[in-house]
């Protein structure tokens, strides 16, 4: 992003489509399959127009068969193709788990390094659209806990395009998590093809008083909270890991070493969530001696996502929650 001309702004959804389209134009092994990705253009519109450009072989509609879709991607990948498959709502990935976790994740290791499985699973996740308990989950922790699978959760259109390109080019199974509420957010995105490396976190906003590590939809909410708290003289540093596995531990450690205080925010339920992993990484690392307050997690409540709008909102952290907890953590003992 070094050019001086003003970047055009496109939506996160457009950025995802652009990554797939541009990569498919230049690598004939890449193809997309999933439910309603072809004629319909994707349930959320991610592949709108792609069937017309690439044809039905490479933009492939499938029956409703999440296990077979994931398995087909696995089998095609070991034969040298580079499939992208879309699971319409992350909640449905439960049906694909056997193929993803017991086959795709393990085949390279089980077969002594003789195969690789270069697939990407793209999936809309998260709550806030009133879709209720079975269409609203963020299940990144399941895949972080499965050796052999990489996990990416971009929060901006720029990150989405660059990281999807990298995921497609990676020779391993990658879970690419797209939060539904981020689809319509806009941001500057270069027109040309570019890639962002995995295991590289980004400090989205620098600050001295508190580190907030935020995942996916919580990044814009944390930034909003930081803006509010800046008026009170509190400088909140917001770190976006972007790739959850492999994780950029160095950037996170450096940030907490600098501020001495850490708040982790994610939408998935707090118990067993990725925040526990982050907290342990920090507490067990070099930043420990610089901690001047306990590490805190602010995450989803341990409940299924409810339908009612107010209940749904109350189930996961909102901007005002982040403000309250961040303010307390940044000022305690100061």
């Amino acid at each position: 992003m070094s050019s001086d001309k003003p970047e055009r702004e496109i939506t996160y959804l457009d950025a995802v489509r652009e990554a797939m389209t541009q990569e498919m134009r230049h690598d004939p092994c890449v193809f997309l399959m999933g439910e309603d990705v072809g004629v319909y253009g994707g349930a959320f519109g991610a592949s709108r127009g792609m069937l017309e450009e690439f044809g039905a072989e490479r933009v492939r509609d499938t029956p409703i068969s999440e296990a077979a879709i994931a398995g087909a991607a696995t089998g095609a990948a070991i034969m040298g193709l580079r499939p992208i498959f879309e699971i319409m709502f992350m909640d449905f990935v439960a049906i694909s788990m056997n193929q993803l976790v017991n086959q795709a994740a393990k085949m390279r290791f089980m077969f002594g390094g003789k195969v690789s499985v270069p697939l990407v699973m793209r999936t809309p996740a998260g709550s806030g659209t009133g879709a209720a308990a079975q269409h609203s989950q963020s299940l990144e922790a399941w895949f972080v806990a499965s050796p052999g699978i990489k996990v990416v959760a971009p929060s901006t259109p720029y990150d989405a395009k660059g990281l999807l390109v990298t995921a497609i080019r990676d020779n391993n199974p990658v879970v690419f998590m797209e939060h539904k509420l981020l689809y319509r957010t806009k941001g500057p995105v270069p027109e040309e093809l570019y890639s962002i490396p995995l295991q590289k976190a980004e400090v989205k906003r620098p600050g001295r008083h508190l580190t907030v590590i935020a995942i996916s939809i919580m990044v814009p909410r944390a930034l909003e909270a930081a803006e509010i708290l800046a008026k009170e003289g509190l400088e909140i540093e917001v770190v976006d890991p972007r790739s959850l596995k492999p994780l950029d531990k160095q950037t996170i450690t450096d940030s907490v070493t600098k501020t001495g205080r850490l708040l982790i925010v994610h939408e998935a339920p707090v118990t067993g969530g990725f925040g526990g992993e982050l907290a342990a990484v920090v507490a067990g690392g070099e930043a420990f001696d610089r901690l001047d307050a306990p590490i805190r997690r602010l995450a989803g409540r341990d409940i299924p996502i409810p339908y009612n709008r107010g209940l749904e909102r109350a189930a996961v952290p909102q901007v005002e929650d982040i403000v309250a907890v961040a303010r307390e953590l940044a000022t305690q003992g100061r």
Binding site: A43, G260, D292, R296, R301, A314, A324, V325, E328, G333
Partner: protein, 433 residues
């Protein structure tokens, strides 16, 4: 009659739809059944068809609008028809944002904020709760953690509590770094013994007598000790301050605006030295007889002249501070020095000292190392001088610096490299960014 175009209900639980985009424009003719706009429900996006043939008009919905089911978003007119009154108004777009403060939510926030475990450490029989940072600081300052009152929940000790404790301690309790009485080194049994044995007093009328007391005693002892026990060697360099002058001009307005503090050359030099010492750890060390301790932190002593005597307030962890933070801290300490508010803890524990007599007009001088440090930097005034630049003479603001080092710890090459590094950084200040 104009045919209204509404937001349709497309599934059982839908109450609102998100308007995505118009597929046709205001004034365009459409056929019944043709797709005219795209909406999105929580599950999928849907194309809405025209309910009649005619001309599109009064299109009020905008992308991202949340529209309740059955609300009108536009009209289809037959030739000759006009829009109803209601359509002339702007369509309501925003959802009612924000919810009432949810008591359950408040509870959750409170629960996150209230309790907390902190590291427990056994200290004799007493368990002490303290943050890792507080613990480290206490250890560094050789304090008993158990005697420090903590302000956190269940008596947790924060860094701030340790610092407060340090500031509040009466001066007598401050440890001196050296137990050995300097006078003893010189063979005197009492520090107050004047050197009558070495030289006779002149025969002259006395103007007055003042007993040595307070800081003067310590200064006298320290200086004598230092000169006698530490082999000093001295190195001088002239530094072209053109770029540093420029830097100061550039950053001063911003820093003054933000902090209300003026940027002094002492601050710039202090900041440069603090960041440079990381590459020259030998000059940031202490000789302990059997070993040399290299310090991780740079606690910079800044020699400050008051009317009666010299004090050396300390900028702690100077290597972690950026220029702005150094300016703020330096000015704060100097102000406290002048108003006699400096606490003992603010005057001890330095690992390197800078003395700047430029404002007194001194061109160059040598300073005495402040034990147990291994070096001291003496800075002279910045004055214009004619210096060769290439094959020509130019007028440049030049500054002389002299570093004195403990030759038991620092050898010539190391001192020379440090000075060369300092010259480099002050002549090219952007190297530090």
């Amino acid at each position: 009659m104009a045919t209204p175009i509404i937001m349709p209900k497309v599934d059982m639980v839908m109450e609102k739809g998100t308007f995505m985009e118009w597929l046709k424009k205001e004034g365009q003719a459409v056929q019944k059944g043709e797709a005219i706009y795209v909406m999105m429900t929580d599950k999928a996006s849907i194309e809405v068809e025209a309910p009649a043939s005619g001309i599109l008009a009064g299109l009020s919905a905008r992308p991202d609008d949340q529209i309740p089911v059955s609300q009108v978003v536009g009209y289809i007119l037959q030739p000759g028809e006009s829009l109803p009154e209601a359509a002339r108004q702007t369509s309501p777009a925003a959802i009612t944002a924000g919810m009432q403060a949810n008591t359950e939510l408040a509870e959750e926030v409170k629960s996150l904020v209230g309790n907390g475990d902190s590291a427990l450490k056994k200290n004799g029989d007493k368990l002490v709760r303290a943050t890792p940072l507080a613990r480290n600081l206490a250890r560094e300052m050789k304090l008993d953690l158990a005697s420090i009152p903590g302000s956190g929940p269940r008596g947790r000790v924060y860094r701030r509590d340790v610092e407060r404790y340090l500031h509040a301690r009466p001066p007598e309790q401050v440890e001196t770094m050296s137990e050995v009485q300097p006078a003893q080194v010189l063979g005197f049994t009492s520090s107050r013994q004047m050197p009558k044995l070495i030289a006779a007093l002149p025969v002259a009328r006395e103007r007055g007598r003042v007993a040595l007391k307070g800081p003067r005693v310590i200064i006298a002892q320290r200086l004598a000790y230092s000169v006698v026990t530490i082999p000093h060697i001295l190195f001088t360099l002239q530094i072209d301050m053109t770029e540093s002058v420029r830097l100061r001009e550039k950053v001063s307005p911003g820093i003054e605006k933000r902090t209300g503090q003026r940027v002094s050359f002492t601050a710039i030099i202090a900041h440069s030295v603090a960041h440079l010492l990381g590459q020259h750890p030998v000059l940031n060390s202490s000789f302990l007889g059997e070993e040399i301790v290299y310090w991780e932190d740079v606690h910079l002593g800044i020699a400050t002249n008051l009317d009666e005597y010299l004090v050396v307030p300390v900028i702690r962890e100077a290597q972690r501070k950026n220029l702005e933070e150094t300016v703020v801290e330096l000015n704060r300490l100097v102000e406290r020095a002048h108003s006699k508010k400096l606490q003992p803890s603010e005057m001890t524990g330095s690992t390197f000292t800078i003395s700047n007599l430029g404002m007194m007009g001194i061109e160059s001088f040598t300073a005495i190392i402040n034990p147990p440090e291994a070096a001291i930097l003496a800075v002279g005034k910045i004055q214009d001088a004619a210096v060769p630049v290439g094959k020509e003479l130019a007028i440049r603001p030049m500054m002389a610096v002299t570093v004195a080092v403990d030759h038991r710890v620092v050898d010539e090459a190391q001192a020379a490299k440090f000075l060369a590094g300092l010259k480099d950084v002050l002549e090219n200040p952007y190297l530090l960014i």
